[in-house]
């Protein structure tokens, strides 16, 4: 399946860029399929008007536009707080969190739904925020790694267990691992190790800290 196939059928389909350098170019630069997906979605939006880092939302954006876009000023519920934010139709939740709400705990490892570093919980269910359009979470509860620590600094049992078991190595995948563990224990407070392994399996860890992460999950389940 190419990225373009995930567009809803009633959305504008990607407009493929003219190939200037031939077959080798198009083969070599396979990332363009995702880029074209983004550009295709941009084409459904309104004229960009707010400054920001997120793709295509600068005041001088030259992204092509067509009429009939969705509302841009939305209020998200993130970590229990109402967060008004200006969101482009094509904007992913990961980019909104990281570049507009300052929540950089959510990491981007692949930006294409392969690694799980960007995992956040939406209404208690894990989602890859790199592959979730921000507009789709309106009216839903978004929980990121920043939302777990208590106001007094008390850590969530999963976070504390990850310290006690030395769960992380490099730490880049850790926020995503934490969120998957939190979602698991919310729905299944006493998982078997095998259930935990299955629940965590959408989160890649290149350091190979799986055993320590699972030890952390099982320790947190005892709290």
């Amino acid at each position: 399946m190419t990225d373009s196939n995930i567009l809803p059928s009633d959305w504008p389909q990607p407009q493929h860029v003219e190939d200037q350098t031939g077959t080798l170019d198009s083969l070599a630069r396979t990332p363009s399929s995702r880029r074209q997906f983004i550009k295709g979605v941009i084409a459904s939006g309104a004229v960009a008007s707010s400054a920001g880092f997120v793709f295509g939302c600068s005041p001088d954006s030259s992204a092509p536009t067509v009429a009939g876009g969705v509302e841009r000023l939305v209020t998200l519920n993130v970590n229990g707080q109402a967060r008004p934010v200006d969101v482009l139709p094509n904007e992913t939740l990961a980019m909104t969190l990281r570049y507009k709400l300052g929540l950089t705990g959510t990491k981007l490892g692949c930006d294409r739904g392969e690694c799980g570093a960007c995992t956040v919980n939406i209404d208690g269910v894990t989602h890859y925020s790199c592959s979730t359009l921000t507009h789709s979470v309106r009216g839903r509860q978004v929980l990121t790694v920043e939302g777990l620590e208590g106001a007094d600094g008390t850590l969530h049992p999963v976070q504390q267990a990850m310290i006690d078991e030395l769960g992380p190595q490099c730490g880049f995948c850790t926020p995503g691992q934490v969120m998957s563990a939190v979602a698991l224990l919310d729905s299944n407070p006493n998982p078997t190790r095998e259930e935990a392994r299955q629940a965590m399996s959408g989160n890649l860890c290149r350091c190979g800290a799986y055993d320590h992460y699972l030890n952390s999950v099982m320790r947190a389940a005892k709290v």
């Binding site: 396979t30 600068s58 954006s61 920043e146 490099c170 399996s201 290149r206 190979g208 320590h212």
Partner: protein, 798 residues
Amino acid sequence: MAYNLIGKDFVPPDIHGKVTGKAKYAEDFRVEGMVFGKLLTSPVPHGRVTNIDASEALAMDGVIGILTANDDGVGALLTNEPKFVGDPILALAAVDETIAQDAIDRIVLDIEPLDYTVDPLDSLYPGGPDARSDGSNVGGGRTGLERRRVKWTARDFSAAEEGQLPMGEPAWQWSYGDIETGFQEADLVFDESFVTQGNSHHSMEPRTAMAYWQGGKCYVHTGSQSLTASLAGIADQLGITIDELVYVNENCGGGFGSKGTAAQTAGISGHLSKQIGRPVMLRISRHEEFYIGSARGTLQGRIKIGFRRDGRIVAIDFSVVQDGGANGGFQDSGDAAQAVSIMYQPESMRFRGIPVLTNTTPRGPQRGPGQNQVAAAMEPILDKAARDLGLDRLAIRKLNAPDNNATVGGQQIPVTSAYMPDALDKGAGMFNWAEQQVRSGERNGSKVFGVGIGQAYHDVGRTGYDGLLVLTPDGKLHLHSGVGNLGTYSYASTTRPAAEILKCDWENCIVHQGTNARHLPIASTQTGSNTSWTMTRTNYVAAVDAVAKLKEIAAIDLGGSPEDYEIGDHKVFATEDPERHLTYAQAAQRAIELGGKFSGQEMPDEIHNVTKAAVAGIAGTGLVGVAKDTLRMEGDVPALACGFAAVEVDLETGKVEILDYVGVADCGTVLHPQGLSQQVKGGAVWGVGLALMERQIYDPQNGLPGNVSFDHCKPPTYLDVPSSMNWDAVDIADPQNPVGARGIGEPPMGAAAAAVLCAISDALEGHLFNRTPVVPDMIINHVVGQRQSYRALQIHTA
């Protein structure tokens, strides 16, 4: 020896940030006015850029500027002769990333295609293609060899079709003993050619970099495994001095050898920022990370090995052709040979190797470069010998394994210490080898049970770096660590010997790391598993210096000579009268008042300039302990590991399930048990990748990569490895490290890969694939007696 801190678990200072999301990596920083950079990379495996028309791109609203290889100082950061698909040609800055990418798409690039190759043997064949336009095909990169052209004769390839590795003129060679006599006297001789395919590092954090210029300095944010060891390289990329560089590297999201020093993205973002006068965030995509994120060298090798009847190895003739990628690669071949020599202690051995340039991604050191591939190749051959000789597979390993009498390499250098037989015994006990191996070949429906043992090695000792610490008047011990933070926690665990020597409570210690702005001493690159050995020594000598200064200050203030004083309980006190003392806090205050060497206004001549700058930065803040490591280091410092695996091989699907895994480390004194556990088990996960899953696929017809994403390259997930693994360590001190420590990060991978491959071979009645990874279709083809889908010695195959 009983320690208070060494060998004990502790909470590393950075882990709170990792579990709360507060830990900052390069892409988490924001600077006023920051814009985005984007790369234009090569669509062809080799070509010459004849024209770049960026006029349309530069005319776009929001586009700020471009950087090419033609700009001053850019050097090799960008290129007009791309040598692999994905080689960066140009960087463009725009106010946001979409505009930057749209602008990149509007740049018209004219490239003249050039000859290319993706297989070293093709390039070595008479008249074969060369990876470089100057006709060179061997050397370069980090091989230590000048680039040159080498072609072998057709006669050298006479047996290649049958799968025997050709070997003409080598680039590297050494030997010791008499292998001809050894083979003549051997009771059993095997001659096996093998292939270990290369694979990408796939660090979770792409090598994103952000840079800006302020107050005459360049501020660079990017992840590197190393910190102060990366300064010179970044400064060189930018054409500035180290004094003009502020490098921020608080966290590094994985490196595994690929981020030993800072990547070219640091230089590209810095130059682009300088050119446009604004901060530049150069986000690197997952695909770009595949291209420029480094990869393990592919090995095409041959092992001729002779055994005596009792299983002792008498002769080894080892040959390797190494894919050096577009840059020339690393020294995998020689490292592999060194590993063979130490792990099996052959009575005679010859090594010949050659690194060949290809038009595939640049190759660099990856976790046990050479050593881990050859573990995967060698250990199943050892099993074959054990079967033919009627020996136990554990026994044949113990017979040949390195101990304190072991020697390494062509010069037969002695080891500082080695306890591989002990490690094997420990692992065999934990794994219950005696009972498990009886089950070999046991059927469970379509699945067959097998067990295997693997061993691996890495050399882990360096010396000559500096230690730095400060006792401040508040009684705190500030430990300045120039080590990078790549996830091993050794930036902190290697400082604990200083606290141990000074008899400080860990609660009174503060570890400084993350940026040279925090005044950090020169450290070794955080590579090659050397930090545990190398940086415990630097912290030790700095602490010894501090202890001497404490005693000198006590003698000045309280009378007598320094020899009359001892330390303890955060005090320096008279041995004869402990009531006569200064607290560390008081001594620190006195150091400030005394000045000179006591508080860093004077410093040793022999320390590195980076350390001198760090000392100058903290001078006058307390009692400074600073010294260069000149401790004795004679011989090879080995990191050793073994692994035991039980697998089930499904003969219908080709799937391999690892049922049980035990890893044991021989790395001297254990510094940090939890951290060591992580390395043994994490290394095992990497070993599973090497054995069963990971490789780069290249289309030989067009030179195009076939698997650039996580999804296609498939590093191991939770479901590919056992849900729990067991580990232990020999934990016997090395005599040449002040706390007995050696490193460990690399060999647990090779040990696990080899154990899994041996277990598969065991399940398949001793069949040798002589190839990694062993993927399901290979198993099925073998089971049904069908030809494999690859040609003999072919690499980069799916």
